[in-house]
Structure formats: structure tokens, C-alpha cells
């Protein structure tokens, strides 16, 4: 973990501590116990006889529990280990800590053990932006419990701290007077329980002392999650390690949205700061994971449908039919100092919602859900034409209506300088970025299929197809940069091309909006030296005005981006090119020990030999976790066709054998096999076979 910080989590409750297990947060230091975007504990310091402890080792048992081995004394060369201290911590509604002290002394010992505790109840946004609090703090002792509170009007948050062993409780912590026999031990449980709302309902922590089967609240245990996913067989150990890491990280990133109350989970965007519902991230990750864990897609569709926009609200950038961008639960959101209740400022999530609904049905055959969400899907399609065409030119554009706290760039490249002309100038608003038009095209084509086959409305299907054909024709005329033979990044507020060469071209292939006659030139760029670094596709091409190999969206490689580009290449028949991209990203994954970062430097592979990580606080990140999964799909060429799964593989050089067993879907479970070029000289058609089995 970064900076020696230890993170454990359960849903959107997580603990970030130092390697001793201590929390010593300042207003801007991101350690603490967090739940629902609020810090419930900002101080948690253990001392023995007034001394801090020294870490010997940390075991990450699971993503929701950790064990710290400690000894007294800090900073000394020689550690006199007459005592060992073990803190075992599991996250629930707060956390449960088992504190054990072992004496290695031949004499009895008497110790003063103290745990200091305090909370600043900071909103996550405050931790990032260092804002002042407006409410009142309290600390009181009640029935051997320490109650830390925060109150602002009706907004109340409470942290309750208690111990199983006898303790003197004061307003700043708990003190234990401990006597241990020779070679004996002493132990206590510490429970930290978070509560919200009026009166602060008291919630028991989910993990009790001695409970062997402590599990996070996600519907299924980690073992079951791993068992249910398809099994991978390969000659590449690194691929197997990356696959396992991805599945575990995806399990950690599962999030059950409160209030929605569906009891199942969807992928949150990233750990720990983005453990919440994001339209774009949850949809794209669900797409990547469809062949592996299709239930994530179902929950994503239901939860985002529940929150679909229904009115015009400038503060939240909400329109009828719009899919949310981000939901938050902290104080600033509660007092409408931030618009995340939820915030709708994304221009891509709404068409992508329809794309996911169709792709989910193609895999799962779950027509019932498509019928249940018909109104939501139609409202999303309606949003594209009625609310997103800000310039009246037939393209989706975005411009925030919340000028204070809304998002300027409402596409996935959301940093301030991500959208630029070749010469580095930045266009005005509204902006119509190209991938949005691709998503709109795909949404209409897929919406037409759903309308015709499931909603039985062929007139609507015809209408959507006519609109899609018209959009495609106009797009290939208006966005095509003649002298460069690629698609412009955007149209600006005068309808002129924002002509930088970017990775967005790959998303256009994925959407299917690209004319066949133009696809080859686009593919050549994506694999060419200006965009392809050897590891993956740069967000902005080398040679453009704003290109910077470590610029967030202006030169770095994003593994998720490259994974969708590989899917796009497959869509247009560029099998080997897709395999080259898969090989590059999977090689990078090996060097990151199976966990791909959000982004890494766009430096030429031959120059650095090693992918240079972009400094970021969020890891694992959902769509980076999903990238190897999507790349396995593209390497195997998996594609649902009616009730069958077609397999049409093309492997990179580094993989000789790839077998994915028990792929779930409307076919029950099937296996897919592939052999690499290096190992086999067979006609292409015979390299793959599908074995059907009874489900």
C-alpha cells in the first residue's frame, strides 16, 4: 500500500491507519475510520506505559481484516521484546479490534495500556479541500462507553467506543491497568461503532470476538465469489496471478448502495476514496466483468435506474432521464454545499446505460430485467435527443449549469486540460466530444434491438435505427480530420473540430460508429508510434501541443481505456492488433504484481523498460481491475450469438495457452480454449472449440 498506510474496508466503511495500526489524522491527512463519506475516528493511538509501539509486521488477512504485530519502543536500534502486542482489526459498522499483549517476562508485570480516541467528523470532501467545520462537537462517558458526537442542526453523527475488559473511560480515551502473569497474556476487545441520524441508533459491529466466519456484508463470501467465477488455465503464471488479483479486488470494490435496499452489490469506482456509486465507472466496470460476474451489471442497472433523473435541477445538473454521475452521503452533500445527492454531471453515463442493458441481456438472456427497465431505457434514449443536444446540431454536448461545484468536463477525461486542439488551445463550452456520439449511436442501435425483440415496439425500433444511421453519416463527415485520417477529439462551441489525436478513436471503434472505410486508418493510429507506447494507448498522441507522458489525461496510458480500445479493434476485425494491446497491458500488470493502477506514464516502453506509475491515491480502481477481464474476453474473442457463445481467439506472444472454464451466461456454463501462435500450427478455425454442458 502507498506510504505504508494500511487500508481495510467493508462497503463504504474503511480504515486507513499507519503500520502500527494507529490513526493520527490532521485536517488534511487522509487516515481514519470512514463511513458514508464521513470520518468517524481521527485519533486512535495505542500506548503501553506511555510509549508508542513499533511495528514488526502487518498481515493483510483479507481486504476487511488486518493483523498488526508490535513491540514497545520506537526508533531504537535494539528492540527489547519482553512484550508482544497484537492488534487484529476487522471492519464492520465501524470496526472491531482484538488487542492482545503477550508477556515474555519471567516475572509478573503491571502495565498501563491506553487507547486515545477522538473524531473530527470530517466530510471526505473536507479531507481533500481542508474546509472548516460548522457544527458542534461533544465527548461524554456513558455506561463505560466513550461517545464522540457531532451535531449541526438535525445532522448528527456518533462514534461509540467500548471495551470488553475493565477500563477507565474518560473523554479522550480508555485506560487499562493490566497485570500479566509470567509468560501470560492479556486481551480485550475494542468496539468502535458508527451511527448516523437523530438519536444515533446503536448498531452492533458485525464481527464479534472469536467469530471465525467474520465476513463483509456483501451477499456472498469471498471464497464463494472466487468459486463462482470462471476458472482460468494458462501457461502464463503472471496471467493467472493477475486474474486472481482482479477477482479479489473486484470483490473488495463491491458496494451495496444504501437506501436502494436491493441487498446486492455493484462495483464502486475505487478504493478507498471512491467507494460509492458512479454512473460511468459502475457501468464500464460492469461491462468489463460481464463474462465473469454478470450480477454486478444487473445491480448497476437497477440502482442507477432507481436514481435516474426526473426533473430539471441546475444545482445537480439533473435532467429527466439522465443517469447519475456520483452519489455522496457526507455533511457537505447533506447541507447542499456540494451537489452529490446525487450529482448528474456526466454526458456519457446515460447512453452507456442503454449499452449495458443490451449487452447484459445478450449474455444473460434476462429479458425480465429488460422489460422491468423499459421505462428507464426509453427515458435515457429520450435524454440524448431532448436534453443533451445543447447546440441543436444533432450531437451530445455538455456544459455545466452548476458553475460553482459542478464538473467542467463531463466525459471520462474530466481534468481541466484534457480537451484541446493540436496546438494546445482549449475550446469553449459547450463541447461535443467524439466518444459521446459513438455511445449515442451504439445506444440507439442496441435500444432498437431491445425495442424490436423484447418491448415489441417495431415502430420505435425503426425510428431509433433511422436516427442512428443519420448520426453515423453526419459524424463520419463532421468529425473526420482529413489531413490526419482520424476522428477529431470534439466539436467546439462553433461546431469546429477540436483536432488533437487521442485514444478516444478506440472508443469510436467499440461503439461501431466508424465507417468501415475509415477503420483501417484509425487502427493504424492506435497501434502507431504516436499513440501506442508499447504498453498501451496514450490518452493524447505524442507530438500534440499538450502532450505530456505524465499528464493525467494528456499522455498517460489508462489500462481501462486500452481494454475498450482492444474491444473496438475486435469489433472491426483487427484481431492481432487487439492481441498486441492485450499483451502490452498484461505485461504491465505483471510488473504491478497483478494490480494495474488507474494510469501510468506514456513513456516509450523501450526507453523506460518499466511502466512508470502515475501518482494517485486510489488503488485498486474498479475499471483498472476490470481491464484484464475485458482483455481476456477480447483475446478469446468471446461473443454471444443467440444462445451460444462464439469463441474466436487471438493471443499475444506472451501467452501460449488460455482456457477459461465455466463461463456463465444464457447457455448455462461453457468453456473456451485458445492456443497461441508460438505453440500450434493449426488452421485458425480449429484453434477454438466450445464445449457445451448442462447448467
Amino acid at each position: 500500500m502507498s506510504d505504508g498506510l494500511v487500508q481495510i474496508l467493508d462497503g463504504n466503511t474503511f480504515v486507513v491507519s499507519d503500520s502500527r495500526g494507529d490513526i493520527e489524522a490532521s485536517s488534511t491527512d487522509p487516515t481514519g475510520l470512514f463511513s458514508f463519506d464521513t470520518r468517524f475516528l481521527s485519533t486512535w493511538i495505542l500506548t503501553v506505559n506511555g510509549e508508542r509501539l513499533n511495528p514488526l509486521s502487518v498481515d493483510d488477512l483479507q481486504y476487511f481484516e488486518t493483523r498488526f504485530f508490535l513491540v514497545p519502543g520506537t526508533g531504537t536500534v535494539y528492540v527489547d521484546a519482553k512484550l508482544s502486542v497484537i492488534r487484529e482489526r476487522a471492519v464492520g459498522d465501524g470496526f472491531h479490534e482484538e488487542l492482545t499483549i503477550l508477556s515474555h517476562d519471567e516475572e509478573p508485570v503491571e502495565l498501563t495500556v491506553r487507547v486515545e480516541a477522538a473524531s473530527d467528523f470530517a466530510d471526505l470532501f473536507e479531507v481533500k479541500d481542508a474546509l472548516e467545520k460548522k457544527g458542534r462537537y461533544s465527548a461524554r462517558v456513558e455506561k463505560r462507553k466513550l461517545l464522540l458526537g457531532y451535531e449541526r442542526d438535525t445532522y448528527r453523527r456518533l462514534t461509540t467506543i467500548s471495551a470488553s475488559a475493565a477500563a477507565e473511560v474518560d473523554e479522550e480515551g480508555l485506560t487499562f491497568t493490566v497485570r500479566i502473569k509470567p509468560h501470560g497474556e492479556w486481551t480485550t476487545d475494542l468496539d468502535v461503532v458508527t451511527a448516523t441520524g437523530v438519536g444515533g441508533r446503536y448498531v452492533r459491529p458485525k464481527y464479534e470476538r472469536g467469530q471465525k466466519g467474520a465476513r463483509p456484508k456483501m451477499g456472498r463470501s469471498l471464497e464463494r465469489w472466487l468459486q463462482d467465477a470462471p476458472r482460468l488455465e494458462s501457461d502464463s503464471d503472471s496471467l493467472k496471478a493477475t486474474y486472481r488479483r482482479s477477482l479479489i479486488d473486484l470483490a473488495a470494490l463491491r458496494f451495496s448502495p444504501p437506501v436502494a435496499g436491493r441487498g446486492s452489490s455493484l462495483p464502486a469506482a475505487g478504493l478507498p476514496w471512491f467507494m460509492t456509486m458512479f454512473g460511468r465507472d459502475s457501468i464500464l466496470t460492469s461491462l468489463q466483468a460481464l463474462p465473469f460476474t454478470p450480477e454486478l451489471a444487473a445491480t448497476t442497472l437497477l440502482a442507477l435506474g432507481d436514481w435516474q433523473g426526473s426533473r430539471t435541477d441546475d444545482f445537480r445538473d439533473e435532467d429527466p432521464g439522465r443517469i447519475l454521475h456520483e452519489m455522496r452521503y457526507g455533511e457537505l452533500t447533506a447541507f447542499e454545499e456540494r451537489p452529490h445527492s446525487p450529482y448528474y454531471g456526466a454526458a456519457d453515463a446515460t447512453p452507456l446505460y442503454v449499452v449495458l442493458l443490451d449487452e447484459y441481456e445478450r449474455w444473460s438472456g434476462d429479458r425480465r430485467l429488460v422489460r422491468e427497465l423499459e421505462r428507464e431505457a426509453r427515458a435515457a434514449l429520450n435524454w440524448i435527443d431532448e436534453y443533451a443536444d445543447l447546440q441543436g446540431n444533432g450531437y451530445i454536448s455538455y456544459q455545466r449549469r452548476n458553475e460553482q461545484t459542478g464538473l467542467e468536463n463531463q466525459c471520462w477525461k474530466d481534468s481541466w486540460d484534457s480537451i484541446s486542439y493540436r496546438d494546445g488551445r482549449i475550446p469553449g463550452f459547450p463541447r461535443a466530444t467524439c466518444e459521446l456520439q459513438g455511445y449515442a449511436y451504439d445506444a440507439k442501435i442496441r435500444g432498437a434491438r431491445l425495442a424490436r425483440e423484447i418491448w415489441k415496439d417495431s415502430a420505435y425500433a425503426d425510428q431509433l435505427e433511422r436516427q442512428a444511421a443519420d448520426l453515423k453519416r453526419r459524424f463520419n463527415r463532421d468529425f473526420w480530420v482529413e489531413d490526419g485520417e482520424y476522428f477529431a477529439l470534439a466539436l467546439d462551441n462553433e461546431g469546429k473540430q477540436v483536432d488533437a489525436l487521442t485514444s478516444n478513436n478506440g472508443h469510436l471503434l467499440w461503439s461501431g460508429i466508424v465507417d468501415k472505410s475509415k477503420a483501417k486508418a484509425v487502427a493504424r493510429h492506435l497501434l502507431g508510434p504516436r499513440l501506442f507506447s508499447g504498453w498501451g494507448v496514450r490518452t493524447l498522441a505524442e507530438g500534440e501541443g499538450r502532450y505530456n507522458p505524465i499528464g493525467y489525461h494528456v499522455g498517460t496510458v489508462w489500462p481501462f481505456d486500452t481494454s475498450f480500445i482492444a474491444w473496438g479493434l475486435r469489433r472491426y476485425g483487427f484481431k492481432q492488433e487487439a492481441a498486441v494491446l492485450a499483451g502490452g497491458i498484461l505485461d504491465a500488470a505483471e510488473l504491478f504484481e497483478g494490480r494495474l493502477p488507474e494510469a501510468f506514464g506514456g513513456y516509450e516502453r523501450g526507453v523506460t523498460k518499466y511502466p512508470v506509475q502515475y501518482p494517485t491515491a486510489c488503488s485498486p480502481q474498479a475499471w483498472s481491475t476490470g481491464a484484464p477481464l475485458l482483455l481476456m474476453r477480447t483475446m478469446l474473442g468471446l461473443e454471444p450469438l443467440g444462445d451460444h457463445l462464439v469463441v474466436d481467439p487471438s493471443l499475444p506472444e506472451s501467452v501460449g495457452l488460455l482456457a477459461l472454464l465455466d463461463i456463465p451466461g444464457r447457455w448455462g456454463r461453457v468453456d473456451a480454449f485458445a492456443r497461441g501462435r508460438a505453440q500450434l500450427e493449426e488452421p485458425a478455425g480449429r484453434r477454438a472449440r466450445v464445449r457445451r454442458r448442462l447448467a
Binding site: 442542526d153 438535525t154 437506501v259 435496499g261 426526473s310 426533473r311 430539471t312 441546475d314 444545482f315 445527492s341
Partner: protein, 114 residues
Amino acid sequence: MADATTDFFQALASRGPHPELENAKGTLRFDLKDTGKRTARWLVALENGSVTVSRRNANADCIVRADKAVFDRVASGEQNAMAAFLRGAIEVDGDQALLLPFQRLFPAPSRSTR
């Protein structure tokens, strides 16, 4: 005297079917306390997009409690319901999921432009 809450519920009852609530089924009761500590109750039943409203004091799947002044602001679009819930100004007991489709019925803020 007419007020925003009464207007909201009366309009709800008279507006005919609500296709946006097609998948919602259940009852919600709104217990709204005024400054004199009197509680006004509204009972709403949702089924297949039809909404019936009454003043009966009956048990419900989801019970919403708030000060009437707060609810007046929600019912007129001045106050976002989710933000009020996060703030503790609206309390919800029972099946919270029912409130999700229902909150779509609250009007837009009047200051919004598009």
C-alpha cells in the same frame, strides 16, 4: 389555508396514472409535525403506476417523519429530499426503497432554467 404540502398531495391524487412509478408497490405514510406539535398524516398507496392519497392513520410499509416546515420546502421543490434525509431532517422507517420512486414526484426547483 392552502399550503405546499396539501397542494402537493392533492395534485398527486388528481393527476391520474404515474408511469414513472409502474414498478413500485406499497404504502407510505407521511407524519408531518407542525410548530404546535400537531401531526398531520398523509397515506399514499402505490400500485402499478396508480397513486391513491388519503388522510387515514393506518400502518404503512414506509413511514416518513419530518417537520411540516421542512416538508413544505420539499413539496414545493425548494429543498432536495435526499439532502434533507442525509441531514436527518427527514426520518425514514421501514422499506426505504419505496421512497426512491416516490421522490421522483417532488417538483423541480423553480430557479432551474432548462
